[in-house]
Amino acid sequence: MTTTTLAVLVPLLPFLGAVAGLLFGHRVPGLVRPLAVLPTLTALLLAVLVAVRQGGGRAVDAATELTPTGSVPVELALHIDGFAALVAVLVGVVASCVQIYSTGYLREDPRYPSYAALVSLFTSAMLLVVYSGDLMVLLVGWEIMGICSYFLVGHYWETPEARAASLKAFLVTKLGDVPFLIGLFALAADTGSFRVTTILARVADGGLDHPTLIALLLLAGVAGKSAQFPLHTWLPDAMAGPTPVSALIHAATMVAAGVYFVARLLPVFATSGAALVVLAVMAAVTMAGSALAALAQDDIKRVLAYSTIGQLGYMTGALAVGDRGAAVFHLLSHGAFKALLFLAAGVIIHVAGTNSLAAMSRMKGLRDRVPDAYWTMTVALLALAAIPPFSGFFSKEAVLGAAEHAATGHAVAPTAAGWIVLVAGLLAALLTAAYATRLWLLAFHGRGTEAPDHGRQPVAMTAVLWVLAIPSLAFGLSVGVLPDWFDGGSLTPTLTTSVLGTGLALIGALVTYGAWRHTTALAARVPMGAVAASPGGDGGAVEAEAIATHRPAYGDVASAPDPADPGRLLLGPVHRHAAAGFRLDAVYTALFVRPVQAAARLVRFLDREVVDTYVRGAGTAPRWLGAAVRRAQTGNVQTYLSALLAGTVVLAVAAVLVATAGA
């Protein structure tokens, strides 16, 4: 088989798996698990094969135009360069892990068949985005991911949190998608094509008339999908979905799509310095704000969600300084360790019976219950905090190095963008280490009652953790090889940023440890119960219960009134705002929700009172007319005949008058 055929099969197999799963899942329960896992695994193998054949060399390009569509042709096109090949492998790895993990995590869920099919569809859509060489086809995958995220986040639709979160995820990303679509059209109008290769060639010739406008419009969509400030608010709430879904969305598929899109079209963005500065500011605000918010969250998954936002900030930061190699490098390593973090968090939630860090910090021996999750999560958190030699260190240093490069004026990006990213990146490195440490300490070093015993975790779940731990540990070693796959720029850490970044991370970790030592004594005095333990259920059931009980137990879905929280001490007065995500939701409520609701009330009023009046009138008038006519229907033939003859006379007179007038 040619590379093109293989590449076509990569997104097609999960899609067929999803269709088959939806068709036969409920009728043949035995087929559900194979249909979920096997196509994804095969797609992974094929993606690896494609990557090996492509080998970072010349990009594989293939296109076929099914039908003429008007002015700008839409083609089924493949464009597989080194970025696409490697990201597809990451998507395959994470999706396979998530599917295998889900067989254990949701083994008792009655809606597992449709869930698995949707995850397959999600994977397929992401692979389509990755491989597609045509922006319209890319948009198809982009939107399929949007609707799949709606369904998957709302998997526990019995809980109001999940319903609200799924709607929010859908609407907020749509808020970005509308400008994104307009931007795509503007781009096509300027370049005359939706093909990536054609667009890039045209951009290289300087054929772009409105680079800033197009770049900013596209950035809106990217911010929505990749959860960048100010459109990031859907992501923390999306934690109401099952943990494997979070792992999939946050690590490899949906949020990566935005970064990947910018990376693919970076020359377009690079033509506009203003757009790059905007991107840099966006990335900086995202990094710093999300790290602060992560430090204040009580829900373990929300900590990870804000951490995802922050790490995506690093990636957009790298893009803002014009180094897409660093961005995709961080995307790959982050995809691995963040998937690991989420899946391990799912195991912990299952065992602890709660998603609250405050409750976990009052449990003794949680790490002994789940040694697999403990060790792998430690690895992943070290990678997240960018401690050498874990993978996160190399990728983050690549980003910081690129930023320094730009700040000193050695790159195409504006110097201002470089400085913004560099400073924010270093600050975020400090905070990242702090919240990683806090998470680790609170989750695994609690003191108090013995953690509940839920027996051994399914092998499907623990084995996946170790599989994902390998890239978290060792992916950094590929730093020497990767430039061959990318643009060729060096990704090896520079001394200055390495020392600075690692030093700040160590400082953050140590300070947090100190704060924890200081506050942990308080934990014994303030009991925080409300552990939603139901040992019989599978992970999904426990998690759904935990999410549903968090607000009744602690009064808020995001935070808990826990004085023993080191984050509370570290953040001081900022904590209250950080826990609420800096009240951005309130801003959105004032800016969008209230006006829309007011407009809806207006429309409702107009519909009920104005439009319906005409509708009712249209019904009432004929009824009155009918009643009048009915009165004429006496059944008396003489009456009818009188009317008939009277009409005849009138007509005859009229005819005579017309005739004489004409004469």
Partner: protein, 211 residues
């Protein structure tokens, strides 16, 4: 009936000289008979005594027969007398009797539709008279010459040119005859077996009612 032959040209010339103010004898006769006919017709449709209506109808139809005579249509006139006065009115009288029409004044001879009927009739009359007078004010019928509706003439044209319609008409009459028999035969059988069915005040179902 002047024996003098008049050409069409002279007829046209004389037509202009004849106004309504100098009527001929025929016109006077026609007018008088016409008034009688119209009066009889009006009484026919307004009288409250049903049998009187039939008798006034005889006057009206007879008057029309005279008008036909004045128009030199002799044969039609006699046919009118024979068929209408002789048979139709008799049939109507039988109908009145069979339906037990009250003798004497019946207060409900007119329906509640009367004002509307009056309005429609007056309107139609006004329109028709206006149109007819407007069109034929100066037109005169020349009655000189051989009678145009003598039995001789009528017989010859009827059996020379109108034979086929005439025969078709006989079929129609036959059909009407059979139809009338069929319509009344059922009732004739009922009349002999169940006379209460004709009684408007007895509505209890008879044993034969559910045949």
């Amino acid at each position: 009936m002047s024996p003098a032959a008049a050409t069409a040209a002279t007829a046209a010339a004389t037509a202009e000289s004849h106004g309504f103010l100098s009527p001929t004898g025929v016109e006077i006769a026609f007018l008088l008979v016409g008034l009688v006919t119209l009066g009889a017709a009006v009484i026919t449709v307004t009288t409250r005594q049903l049998v009187h209506a039939a008798l006034w109808l005889v006057v009206a139809l007879g008057g029309l027969a005279v008008e036909y005579l004045l128009l030199t249509a002799e044969f039609i006139a006699w046919v009118q007398v024979l068929i209408y006065v002789g048979s139709v009115v008799v049939l109507l009288l039988f109908g009145l009797m069979l339906t037990k029409a009250p003798i004497g004044r019946s207060p409900d001879a007119d329906s509640r539709n009367r004002p509307v009927a009056l309005a429609v009739a007056l309107l139609a009359a006004a329109a028709l008279v206006w149109v007819v007078v407007d069109a034929f004010r100066t037109t005169v019928i020349d009655l000189d010459g051989a009678a145009q509706g003598s039995t001789d003439v009528t017989g010859s044209i009827l059996f020379r040119h109108w034979v086929l319609p005439f025969e078709a008409l006989s079929v129609l009459l036959l059909a009407a005859l059979i139809g009338a028999i069929v319509l009344s035969r059922k009732k004739a059988a009922e009349d002999t077996t169940a006379s209460p069915a004709t009684d408007p005040h007895e509505d209890a179902p008879t044993p034969e009612g559910d045949r």
